[in-house]
Amino acid sequence: MAIAVSQTRPVAVKKNRSQFYQSWKRFRKNYFAVGGLVWVAIFFIIGIIGPWIAPYSYTDADFLAMHAPPSAHHIFGTDQVGYDQFTQILYSVRYALEIALGATCVSFIIGIVLGLWAGLAGGIADMLIMRGVDFMFALPSFFFALILSVLLGKGLFPMILAIGVPGWAGYARLIRSLVLSMRNGEMVEAARALGASQTHIAARYMFPNVVGSMVVSLAFGIPADLTAQAGLSIVGMGLNPPMPSFGNMLANASSNILGFPWLLYFPASIFAITLLAFLFVADGLQEAFNPRGGM
């Protein structure tokens, strides 16, 4: 019996078709995403080594050079107290990353627990958790962050909680929907029919199909938390002034904008480019993790 194989859908012979290799190949074709990744990598490196390359301590005020424009001594200039802006930015990067990553982890952990619970238990638990999600989405999460930061006070850890705790709803909803689509899906039933154990199904069938959306949602979560953190600082609910943060610098710069523009230019542009870089990376990841994204 002759069976004609459709010739209209040629399949190119490609040997290495592992998930991450495929995704990386798609990712690196997106130049914006790659550029974003480079910037994000630099941002992370600065976050880690910042304190060692900083020319001054962030508490060192150079009283002889207040409001100094950029110069060899203070390459990004100084503010009204004489704080070196370059040092301030280096430390801001560190705290921004600590808070954004910490807050994203907090949101994600709460989201994963509640999302799994809602998806697996169903019934009343599901109903209550999903109404909670609706409630969180009904009001801006910045509003919740503001209330929490008032309750928890200032500082690094309270800020992580204030930004992280209200962010759970999106992750919970995503994970619940992934659980439901997996649990009722034919793919999992087929794997069970093959005789696969629960761990095999989770590792080989479920995880590869959910890891993409989770990584993407985390990648979008980090810049959102960076923004929230800067927002809290701008309204005065962020880190206390000796601790530098982008929000504090921007708030301070906006009141000094006429005479001393370098106070705004450097932190604002670095912060803006960083946000864009994170978003480009997240966008690139989204495309890269789609198995149907063209090759």
Binding site: M1, I3, V5, S6, R9, V11, A12, V13, K14, K15, R17, Q19, G185, E186, M187, E189, A190, R192, A193, L194, G195, A196, S197, H200, R204, Y205, P208, N209, P291, R292
Partner: protein, 318 residues
Amino acid sequence: MPTNPLVKVENVSKRFRVRGRELHAVSNVSFEIEAGKTFGLVGESGSGKSTLGRLVLRLLDANEGRITFNGKDITNLPNRQLRPLRQEMQIIFQDPQASMSPRMTIGRAIEDAMEIHKIGTKQSRRKRVDELLERVGLPSFVKYAFPHELSGGQLQRIGIARALSLNPKLIVCDEPVSALDVSIQVQVIHLLQELQRDLNLTYIFIAHNLAVVEYLSDEIAVLYLGEVVEQAPAEKLFKNPSHPYTQVLLQSILKIPEDPSSRQKMTHIQGEIPSPFNPPSGCTFHPRCPFATDVCRTQKPVAKHVDDDHKATCHLIG
């Protein structure tokens, strides 16, 4: 002659709880299938035929009754002991794309089935993938493809190859061709027949298309609202349908005779299949049955023999 059936289903019932209500998906069904035969399950959507197929494979657990596979009672077998048995009983799905991971290449998907049961070495599994693809009529390079890069017919062949990789005795074919183009349907059905002949497979063939079932099956059970209303060898069922439901079902097959004078009006069953939450009293078919009497409305019929191997569950017989 005492037979030793491969599959034995005895008084199996399955109920689902949906929002506090009971849904009777399968009620008190019994049948036996001999090795190497094809058992057809027909019925409208919602008749419980897919549920029944999954009960046989223990993808769902029955509420009542007993399922014996190859002489072994598997009704309450714990998962740990059931998993090795799954090698011998496989399933082909209606939507082959949905049954595969979109992130696994075809080769990986077939290899994975063998890996689960620790069949062979990595090299021998790779070799087997090529053999299986050839067996189902596909070139070996499709193993590098992802499911979304293939057509429905190709994917169904791969679903078959994946099931075959475990050398099963029984394959439940859950509407394997109903999502395919008609020309492809014939190819896939021929493939299934060929494989049955060569590998002595036993099929449970689930379909709503009677013509397909007639063509393939040795024995057919007609399901209505989770109950077997008629069961007989294929020729007998088609020659002498005894249950009114089977009769209307057969009349609804689209056949156009050559001679216009012998064309007859097509009949169809009135109404819809009733709610399985609340099955009708007496004979569940009575609200749609053209011959229903008072007995049908009040008393539940029992299976009666039309012939020694032909049973129908209807008050009007005998």
